[in-house]
């Protein structure tokens, strides 16, 4: 992923060609999505903070919209939602007497991410993404280079380890230290020491490994990546012939290794659609591309591609 000549401002060319909104659209929508989900969860704690001052007693009219945190929650006091990765850990721990809410809730979330792309969780929902994106932004700004490089596949090992750990300890052992769920909880229920863990991730991403946590270690990302392998909603590069090799998409993509085979796949016969589960569907590549190579679409092959079928699925590269 040799980045060519990087512009001073990433996406400068895109801004000039497509206008500011088109060059930041998906990033802004993504942040909006992340923050509004946080906002919905925050309603009760904020209300509880404010209502005594206004003379009410814990009576939060809008509090019932979304209750809980990203581990499990209840929407409108009726629709249960449960993180399927947590559900998997629960099954691994040998706890069989799971109430129906969790089963329904985990299915809802599982099907949702199966449809829109597993790692949509990572880029559109998870608040840790804001932390690691900030670290990456600062890393780029400070022109920090180097650091430790290690396999991105570690996350799948960690995922396996988490499940084995649940089975061996008979408890959700990983949840004792899971920084992702820790931040989810901490934001809505308060935390103190936990912020140091989050700071640790920020510093790790900033100084030690570029995009270290989300794309190398986090087992939740790994899990959702596996879910996302089957999603119909994908980033497509149908206009890849227009690519002018500015390499800005490589710079912004958190999983840049998945771009090249598709972008340069004309010769190798790879379909112009990113099928790797690691893709977070963040859409930043769509934003920064001045040539409008990328767009959101479905995984299914267009008529013109159907000729090149078999080879198309061989593009997955770690």
């Amino acid at each position: 992923m040799a980045a060519g000549q990087i512009n001073e401002i990433i996406g400068k060319e895109a801004i000039e060609k497509k206008g500011w909104w088109q060059a930041y659209k998906w990033l802004i929508l993504r942040r909006f999505s992340q923050l509004s989900i946080l906002g919905l969860f925050m309603m009760i704690p904020i209300c509880k903070l404010i209502s005594p001052a206004l003379g009410y007693e814990n009576d939060c009219a809008l509090g019932w919209i979304l209750k809980g945190n990203l581990a499990s929650s209840k929407l409108f006091d009726t629709i249960p939602m449960t993180d399927p990765m947590l559900f998997l850990q629960m099954l691994a721990s040998g706890f069989g007497n799971i109430a129906i809410d969790a089963v329904i809730g985990a299915s809802i979330i599982f099907v949702f991410y199966l449809l829109v792309g597993g790692r949509v969780f990572c880029s559109w929902v998870c608040p840790v993404n804001i932390v690691t994106d900030a670290a990456f932004w600062l890393r780029t700004k400070l022109k920090l280079r180097g650091g430790t490089r290690f396999s991105r596949n570690i996350r799948y090992w960690v995922l396996g380890m988490v499940l084995v750990l649940s089975a061996v300890t008979g408890s959700l052992a990983y949840e004792l230290i899971n920084p992702v769920s820790m931040l989810h909880r901490g934001l809505f229920f308060g935390m103190s020491l936990g912020w140091f863990v989050i700071a640790g991730i920020f510093l790790f991403d900033l100084f030690i490994t570029k995009r270290g946590w989300c794309t190398h270690i986090c087992p939740m990302g790994a899990f959702y990546g596996l879910v996302g392998k089957f999603s119909p909603l994908r980033v497509r590069a149908d206009a890849r012939a227009d690519c002018d090799d500015c390499a800005e998409c490589y710079t912004v993509c958190p999983e840049s290794q998945i771009l090249k085979p598709v972008l340069k796949g004309e010769k190798t016969g790879v379909a112009p659609v990113i099928l790797a589960g690691e893709c977070t569907n963040c859409g930043r590549c769509i934003d920064v591309c001045g040539e409008e190579v990328f767009h959101f679409g479905l995984r299914f092959k267009t008529d013109s591609e159907k000729v090149k079928t078999a080879i198309g699925n061989k593009q997955e590269v770690n």
Partner: protein, 308 residues
């Protein structure tokens, strides 16, 4: 992967080295992740222990199951109208993210509809608990019997009066005050069968700092009677009468070929139809003479007669 681009050409050029490197990387990763897992596993050994003074919400499954079932979502925290529940955070003496309350500062108010339970998604809080008086969050124990003012002979009974299962979970038992010699002491006594562990007594205890009555997890507060023990009076209560039927002939439960002689010979083993009896055990006739008279007055008056 750092070598994602270089891997394929390498494999073509020199398959041996690439495979070796691949296996090496793999082993390294496995070791690293394994060590991480071991670390978390060992940490979980200590981190999964809950502080004895942290109390789980009503209906919480036994701790081992609870730690497998609780997603740490905090819906129970939201649903508690008294805001007593907290989610532990890393570094607390309660497993990270799990809900608990501290009785001394914020006890369970024992809502009749138990709002914290029904929205629990996994059943970590048991949905079948519908009567809050049947909750078993822990057991109150009158720990400090030196400072509790009831034991000093003063009237207090605050714990008795705030108890939501009043008169059942805590009763006041009057005992003689030996210090003054003429007063009663009004001693609070907890009955674990009715105590829900809500902690209202612990909150109300008038002592400063540590209360004299504390809620503990049941397994810390209560022992288990050996399984061979039978509490006769309770069995009698269950049966609704005496356990013994006076008319029943007493039977020894002896192995075949053995019997018991009531008249003093004792245990008799029949060998081939002939009873084997230790002759020393057969009472002699003269032994039958009792050492004293049948009339107890004779014994009592013995000295008087001699004196006369």
């Amino acid at each position: 992967m750092s070598n994602s681009q270089s891997k394929q050409p390498l494999q073509k050029k020199n398959k041996g080295i690439s495979r070796r490197r691949f296996l090496g990387d793999m082993a390294g990763t496995a070791c690293g992740v394994g060590l991480l897992g071991l670390g978390i596993g060992l940490y979980s050994k200590s981190a999964n222990a809950i502080h004895p003074l942290a109390v789980r919400p009503p209906g919480a499954l036994p701790e081992k199951d609870f730690l497998a079932a609780c997603t740490r979502c905090g819906i129970c925290v939201r649903d508690c109208p008294y805001d007593i529940l907290k989610l532990a955070e890393i570094g607390d003496e309660v497993p990270t993210g799990t809900p608990y309350f501290t009785a001394r500062t914020g006890p369970c108010e024992m809502c009749e509809d138990i709002p914290c339970i029904p929205n629990c998604p996994t059943g970590a809080l048991d949905h079948s608990l519908t009567d809050i008086n049947k909750a078993k969050m822990g057991v109150a124990v009158v720990v400090d019997q030196e400072t509790c003012i009831a034991f000093l002979g003063l009237r207090c009974e605050v714990c008795f009066n705030v108890c939501p299962v009043r008169g059942k979970a805590i009763t006041i038992e009057m005992k003689h005050n030996q210090r003054s010699g003429r007063h009663a002491m009004f001693i609070p006594v907890v009955h674990s069968g009715d105590c829900t562990g809500c902690g209202l007594c612990e909150k109300a205890c008038i002592l400063e700092d540590a209360p004299a009555i504390k809620v503990f997890p049941e397994h810390l507060a209560k022992g288990d009677l050996g399984h061979h023990y039978r509490v006769g009076w309770e069995q009698q209560k269950d049966k609704g009468g005496s356990l013994i039927n006076i008319e029943d002939k007493h039977e020894y439960n002896l192995p075949e070929g053995m019997r018991y002689d009531h008249k003093g010979v004792g245990l008799i083993t029949d060998e081939g139809g002939n009873p084997v009896v230790d002759p020393a055990l057969i009472p002699k006739k003269e032994d039958k003479e009792a050492p004293g008279s049948v009339n107890p007055l004779d014994f009592l008056n013995k000295g008087i007669k001699e004196a006369e």
